[in-house]
């Protein structure tokens, strides 16, 4: 299979995943551009592109592009600030008010995490990556990713339950030790 055919197949297989990745982070208006630029860079670097494991590479590239967009525009720094129009028109047509409120609460809770913790959580839940792939995307080791997810899960549960944060035992690498 030549490069063009191989790239076309890879594009068709993963374009939608990258589009969703960008949509979740910068909204509907910029997501197609982020996805397109991600695949354009992939094509430019296709000689060294990890063809067996494209998704982590694609997400790392899309992440850099979205972070740059966020830095520049300073308008999508909080997930919970997503316009209600986005939520209602594109994603939750059938949802009633309670579901929209629940989603806002979830987004607000996610917003309370650090950038890297939130990214890890989204990668394993919405993007469906496994621990190793998610660790590659955020650039940390698997044990560290595992520790962060554990911490994030506990924090999210607290926030969603609307309980005051208790005196927490902060991340201990010992928890990840064997």
């Amino acid at each position: 299979m030549n490069d063009e055919a191989s790239f076309t197949r890879m594009f068709q297989e993963h374009y939608e995943s990258v589009l969703r990745y960008a949509w979740r982070r910068v909204g509907s208006a910029d997501a197609p551009d982020i996805a397109a630029e991600t695949f354009k860079i992939a094509w430019e670097k296709y000689d060294g592109f990890p063809r067996d494991q494209p998704l982590p590479w694609l997400y790392v590239t899309a992440r850099n592009l979205t972070l740059n967009l966020i830095r520049k525009d300073r308008r999508r720094e909080r997930l919970a600030d997503w316009p209600g129009e986005d939520l209602s028109r594109h994603a939750v047509e059938q949802d009633h008010a309670y579901a929209v409120t629940a989603r806002q609460a979830a987004l607000a809770a996610l917003d309370g995490l650090s950038d890297d913790d939130r990214e890890l959580v989204l990668l394993v839940s919405w993007e469906g990556l496994d621990l190793r792939q998610a660790a590659v995307v955020v650039g940390c080791s698997r044990p560290v990713a595992s520790m962060r997810l554990h911490r994030a899960r506990k924090r999210l549960r607290r926030l969603l339950a609307d309980e005051p944060q208790s005196v927490g035992r902060h991340p201990s690498y010992g928890e990840n030790a064997v």
């Binding site: 076309t8 594009f11 068709q12 374009y15 939608e16 969703r20 949509w23 979740r24 197609p32 551009d33 996805a35 397109a36 630029e37 695949f39 354009k40 860079i41 494991q53 998704l55 850099n64 592009l65 740059n68 986005d86 594109h90 994603a91 939750v92 629940a102 989603r103 979830a106 987004l107 650090s114 950038d115 890297d116 839940s125 919405w126 469906g128 496994d130 621990l131 190793r132 792939q133 590659v136 650039g139 940390c140 080791s141 560290v144 595992s146 997810l149 899960r153 005051p164 944060q165 208790s166 927490g168 902060h170 991340p171 201990s172 690498y173 010992g174 928890e175 990840n176 030790a177 064997v178």
Partner: protein, 316 residues
């Protein structure tokens, strides 16, 4: 720990704002044609060109600037001011370096009574508790994390921590260059704002006492650790077993790493759910990574019948 991903997925699945998003086939076909038909490929060199939006071209400049900021922060750290000691007449547990609105703090005596740390912080008007946890050698004397009772702690990508509550935010930074902790983030000291609000708990590693298990287990190949400097990635299990024997290190547990082909095969794979008995691991398999252990002289090994293509942080 093993159920974290499962629980997160179930917690957040219903809230995915893009769960129903589908790519427009016409638009995506046009994008593909534009990429494959219009972009040049130059082996070994990226030819970044305009693509719809000007901001996309700003990425390389932003990366360079970020690098410069990090370098300046490290170079201009006011270490030349010298430590300002408190507690006349006795050896200090901590060294404080004043720096305008912030104070840099380093551990002088990692085995001091925790009350002394608190007293010395209190002498500087700070409500700080140091939590010293038994650590493997690469993490001894290193700052590992920050938290604050009853308030949110946000860990930033640059290694700083923001303590947040409804009244605002205080930033605590790690200082002290980049000590060798392998894949684990660490610093040798901490920079605290003088006007720090509320209580803060800072975790440092301390040397473990005889027979005491590690609460903080570092990267086994980091400096001072049992496998310091050993390149284990993609060595055969037989080779690594020999290297471990020579260093009198034992394997506490083997974990089967996630399959890599086809690409989606490893989705949701948790190595800790795939523990192997030693006799199930042939010497011809490959070691992908070593994990630290609570026990001295023991490690966990992530293994598989194939060499891994995953590049660890640092790219080694």
């Amino acid at each position: 720990m093993n159920n974290d991903i499962k629980q997160l997925r179930s917690m957040l699945e219903a809230h995915d704002p893009a769960g129903r998003v589908r790519a427009d086939p016409l638009a995506s076909s046009a994008t593909l044609r534009e990429i494959v038909g219009g972009a040049e490929r130059t082996p070994g060199r990226v030819t970044r060109r305009w693509f719809r939006r000007r901001w996309l071209l700003l990425l390389p400049a932003a990366v360079v600037l970020a690098g410069a900021v990090i370098a300046l922060t490290a170079v201009l750290r006011p270490g030349d001011v010298g430590p300002v000691h408190v507690g006349p007449g006795k050896a200090e547990a901590l060294a404080f370096t004043a720096n305008g609105d912030t104070v840099d703090v380093r551990i002088v005596d990692p085995d001091a009574d925790p009350r002394r740390y608190r007293e010395e912080f209190a002498a500087h008007g700070m409500d700080v508790d140091l939590r010293m946890q038994s650590a493997s050698p690469s993490l001894v004397g290193k700052m590992i994390s920050v938290s604050s009772p009853g308030r949110m702690t946000v860990y930033n990508p640059d290694g700083s921590f923001d303590i947040q509550d409804k009244n605002g935010s205080s930033r605590i930074e790690g200082v002290g260059g980049s000590p060798d902790c392998g894949v684990i983030w660490c610093k040798t000291g901490v920079r605290i704002p003088v006007a720090l609000r509320g209580p803060v708990v800072i975790t440092f590693g301390r040397a473990a006492r005889p027979g005491e298990p590690y609460e903080l287990a570092g990267d086994p190949t980091a400096r001072g650790e049992s496998l310091e400097g050993l390149p284990l990635r993609n060595r055969t299990v037989a080779e690594v077993r020999l290297m471990l024997r020579q260093r009198q290190v034992t394997v506490k547990r083997y974990y089967h790493d996630a399959p890599e082909n086809p690409p989606e095969a490893g989705r949701g794979w948790q190595p800790t759910e795939h523990v192997l008995r030693p006799e199930e691991v042939p010497g011809t398999w490959y070691v992908h990574e070593a994990w630290g252990s609570r026990d001295r002289g023991a490690v966990g090994l992530l293994v598989a019948p194939w060499p891994t293509s995953v590049i660890p942080p640092g790219g080694s």
